[in-house]
Structures are given as C-alpha cells and as structure tokens.
C-alpha cells in the first residue's frame, strides 16, 4: 500500500511460550486489543518495522502531492482549482501527522527526510506514474485515494497509538479526496465524446498501478505474518485488493466506463469479481527506480529541500535573535 514491501526484521512469529515475560506481556496486550504508546517497552523489531512503515507512508503522502500539484495551475475552473489545492494541502497535512507519529519512535524528522531524498527509503509505486490529462485528477482521486482508504480504514485499529490516531484524522479527510475524484470522473464521463475518451484513457492507465498499490500476494510471507501478529498490518494484500475491485466495478459501470480487464467477471460462487493480476514485473521495476517518473519525483523533492534551506535557516536565526532580545530586556 502506501507502505509496500515492508519486510519485518523478525524471523517468523514466535509463540507466546517462546517469548520472555516482557515480550509476552507486550504481545498479550496487543492480542487483547490494547494500544502501545511511545514510552512503553516494545521489541526492537516492532519499533524498526513501524519506523519504516510509517516513514514510507509519510513519504508517500508528501511525494503524492507532486502528480496532482502538476495540475493546480491548469485546473479547468477556479472552483476545481480551489478544491484541488485543498486536496493537495491535505496530503501535506497527512504527511506531517505521520512524520510526527514516526518521530515518537525515536527517529528524527531530518533523518527521515534524508532517507527519502537519498532514495534509501521508498514511497508508494503509484506516484511514479505521470498525470497526463485533467481526467487523471479524477482517476487519482477515485482510484488511488480509494485504494488508500481500503488500507487506512483498518489501520485506525492498529496497535501503535500515535499511528492509529494519525489514521483516524487521515481517514476523515480521505473521503473528500475520493469523492472529488469521482466527481471529476462523472463530469468527464457525461461530457463530450472527447472528454469521455479522456476519462476512459485515465482509467486504462491507472487501473493496473492502482491494483499494485496493495503489494504482491502475501499469503505465504513470514513478514506479513509477523506484522499481522503485531497488528501493524490488519488485512492481507489480496483481501484488500479484492475488496477494492468489488467496490470499483459498479462505480465504473455507473460512469459508463470499461475496466481495462477482459477477464473481469462476477463469480457467483465466490461472491466476488474475478480479475487479472496487474503486471508484477512492472511493479518491481518501478520499485527499483525504473518507473516513468522516479527520477523526476526525487529531483523535485531534493530541489524543494535545497531551495528551502535559506528559509529554514533564516527563521531559526530570527527566532534565536528574538530570544536573545527578550532575555536582554528581562
């Protein structure tokens, strides 16, 4: 999802009997639905995993501003522009809620930023695709934020208190994002032939990458098993992907658009849609840095950081000067 391919550091899941008393008490608290708070004891693996997961999630929100920021100056009306601006501002806010949750685990903001800018830490593969037309703003809100909601709603119950609380705030705002995207799609799909074609083209390009957001099948992964035992992952990737497909198909039908999957059909027996898996080779290639926009995204973040240095330093100098003047006056 926004934190794809997080590998836990543990070696499979220990049973309660194999744990020392401290770890056992920790796991029992999680099993009972209790929350872990920053100053509580926690296993090193839990801490490290969460820093990577929350950090990657935060980075995704921040980098996720870029594909949509691309269209702010070219939105078709002033109203659409104001809405898109508010949406992109929300993404910045989501990044900040998540960074501060990660910081409660002992990592600094600067460290997280450095790891994003150097490429050491990842962000979601979805943001390495370009946004070519205005209809892409619709497809991103509808599909990308829609997929994010699937993952984030259950994470409101995650075991780490600050992460769960950040998710509650994020989920409240995410629904606006998905609806504004679908609203754009409705307008385009009911528009001229050219607009409808543009909407279909956006769906065609974002369908596969949206399915990839959930990550590869994790049925047999020990990493997933550990994350699920710790309740920092609440559902399997396949389970969420299926739920996403089941929700999207009728929404696409309402728009009069065609989901770009010839194998897509309702399976009466399973009570779910059968669908084609996305191109996993492409997914791994994008994660390795070879997506259409990987270089551009990291360059944009690095430029923003470098160009903002004088502002950060200037404000610090100003604050220090004011503090000194206040002390002198006392």
């Amino acid at each position: 999802m926004y934190a794809q391919m997080i590998k836990s550091t543990g070696e499979g899941v220990k049973s309660l009997d194999e744990m020392d008393p401290q770890e056992r008490a920790f796991q029992e608290r999680i099993n009972a639905g209790g929350k872990i708070e920053p100053k509580d004891w926690m296993p090193d693996g839990y801490r490290k995993n969460l820093i990577r997961q929350i950090g990657q999630h935060a980075h995704s929100e921040i980098v996720g501003q870029l594909p949509e920021g691309n269209w702010i100056t070219r939105a078709p009306t002033l109203e659409r522009k104001a809405i898109l601006l508010a949406k992109v501002q929300d993404e910045a806010g989501h990044g900040l809620y998540l960074y501060c949750a990660a910081e409660t685990l002992g990592v600094t903001r600067d460290q997280l930023t450095r790891d994003l800018l150097s490429g050491k830490m990842k962000y979601s593969s979805i943001f390495n695709y370009p946004t070519l037309t205005w209809a892409d703003m619709g497809a991103v809100g509808w599909l990308v934020d829609g997929a994010a909601i699937m993952n984030q709603v259950p994470l409101q119950r995650t075991s780490y208190g600050p992460y769960a609380r950040a998710m509650v705030r994020i989920c409240k705002e995410e629904s606006f994002h998905q609806r504004q995207g679908y609203d754009i799609m409705m307008k385009m799909a009911k528009g001229t032939e050219a607009q409808k074609k543009m909407a279909q083209d956006a769906l065609n390009r974002f369908w596969g990458p949206a399915l990839m957001m959930f990550g590869p099948s994790d049925e047999n992964s020990v990493h997933s098993a550990q994350s699920m035992a710790w309740k920092i992952k609440m559902n399997s990737n396949d389970e969420l992907r299926q739920k996403f497909v089941d929700e999207c198909v009728p929404q696409a039908e309402y728009l009069g658009l065609t989901v770009p999957d010839p194998e897509l059909k309702w399976n009466e027996e399973r009570g779910h849609y059968d669908f084609t898996q996305p191109d996993w080779d492409e997914f791994f290639d994008v994660l390795r840095g070879n997506g259409p926009c990987n270089t551009e995204r990291l360059e944009a973040r690095n430029k923003a950081w470098d160009d903002g240095a004088w502002v950060r330093d200037g404000l610090m100098a100003h604050a220090a000067k004011k503090r000194a003047a206040k002390l002198a006056a006392e």
Binding site: R109, D110, A309, L315, A319
Partner: protein, 97 residues
C-alpha cells in the same frame, strides 16, 4: 551563525475544539519558535474548523510519568474504593442521591 543541519524544535499542539471544552493534545509539529508553531498548527490541525484556540508547548519542556511507575503511582488510589459513590448502599426508600 546558523547550522544548516539544525532541526527546528518539536512542539506539541493542544486544541480547544469548542467553547466550554478543555484543550486536547492533537499531535506535534516542528517550528522555529512558538509563534510560527501556532501558525503552522492552524494549517496542519485546523483546516476544517476543528478549533477555537491553540496552545503550543515545546516538547522538550514536557515532563511525563513513566509507564514503569504505573503500579506504584496509582496504587494509593486503588485501595480507596470508598472514594467512589457506588461504595455506599443507600436504601431505595431514600430516593435518588
């Protein structure tokens, strides 16, 4: 004069959601000083009219009890059940009390 690697200090943010309620902790953010922390908190935590008042406190100024002390810290209250009104049986004839 300034050190480029120096991080803005962390502030904890408290917001009064409505008149008549107390301030509640909502999260944290980095800012060069308290004044900027309030401005940033407005943008980060009240984009949808979530508050009527903001407090900011530098995180390093907060003292907190430690989870390990939980037992000894709250133990004195645990054995004083008579502090709760339900400790006392009041006959039904007396009516609501």
């Amino acid at each position: 004069m300034t050190n480029a690697t120096q991080e803005w200090p962390l502030f904890e943010i408290f917001i009064r959601g409505q008149h008549g309620l107390s301030h509640r902790h909502v999260g944290s953010l980095h800012a060069p000083d308290a004044e900027m922390a309030i401005k940033n908190a407005r943008d980060v935590y009240t984009r949808r009219n979530e508050g009527v008042s903001i407090w900011v406190v530098q995180a390093s100024d907060i003292a907190a009890s430690s989870p390990e002390e939980k037992g000894s810290l709250y133990e004195p209250a645990n054995d004083k059940v008579y502090r709760h009104p339900t400790f006392f049986d009041i006959p039904d004839e007396v009516g609501a009390m």
